[in-house]
Point group: C2
Chain length 171, copies 2
């Protein structure tokens, strides 16, 4: 179960596997209810306006999103071997259902951010690549995201190509 805390022995095995695979002890896993204590909201505030949430506000928001099941996946990067473990990066995928393409599904990647002190280590790319895999496994016919023009090359490293323009109205 990715959405619950693994047993210590499992966590140790996962950490060892992560090191073997990537040469890095940072693991990518699903957001957990206890990540409020690990700076998840503060990390999001490096991306956009994100006022702090109380523990109960965080729990309520977490429950709302968890109720969407595999249609809403938030991944986080954490080094469980660090003395004080913090969330180093995050990214989200939500799955939109359509009438198009015979009742097809589209994955939307949102809210990707890497802690300023942890950039340059490829953590954001690992998060995004995993989100793309999840979208593919879920049967999405495409996965899309919006970004600033400066980030085109970054997302190209994960296989994204420019497709159109994003338009917005802020209320």
């Amino acid at each position: 179960m990715e959405s619950t805390s693994p047993e210590p022995s499992t966590a140790a095995a996962a950490a060892a596997a992560a090191v073997a695979e990537t040469g890095c002890s940072v693991q990518i896993r699903r957001l957990e209810a206890t990540d409020h204590e690990k700076g998840f909201v503060a990390l999001l505030s490096q991306l956009s306006a994100c006022p702090d949430l109380t523990a109960s506000e965080f729990a309520a928001c977490f429950a709302d999103l968890a109720a969407l099941g595999d249609d809403h996946v938030i991944l986080v990067a954490e080094d469980p071997t660090a003395p004080e473990s913090r969330i180093l990066a995050t990214g989200c995928l939500f799955v939109e259902r359509k009438f198009l393409r015979g009742g097809g599904k589209v994955g939307h990647v949102e809210d990707v951010v890497v802690d300023a002190a942890a950039r340059g280590r490829g953590l954001g790319l690992r998060v995004v690549r995993r989100l793309v895999e999840i979208a593919k496994e879920a049967g999405c016919y495409k996965v899309i995201l919006d970004c600033t023009p400066e980030l085109r090359a970054y997302y190209a490293k994960c296989g994204f190509v420019e497709k159109g323009v994003q338009m917005a109205i802020y209320f």
Copy 2:
């Protein structure tokens, strides 16, 4: 109730109101289960790959999306005074929930298309403007969409401004 068929007298009153407001008898309303018979899927196929759906496939897809409640709204344009009523335009809004902005909501406008024979009458703009209103009423802090560069001016008529680039991976 926008999601159920109005009584005949109500429909007539709505048609009269639409004519009074817009000088046009076309009404904008929520998609109904019976719209499969009015060419809804064929209309979508003018936008993107959209194989025909059997009545039961349509009903299943309709039920899946209806279960999302006000987090997924499909609007259609129809002229109930036409001899053979068809869906002339459509557009969709889905509401994404976030941790950002204190548990904020973002409206995504998707799958806007106007029947080739009904273009130039402002039906698409009426659909999109209503979707934007719904997003605002739902408490979204912004509403976004992706389009081709050629459609920037079209969506600017509804208040949208260019915000970024859309990136995609097709599986």
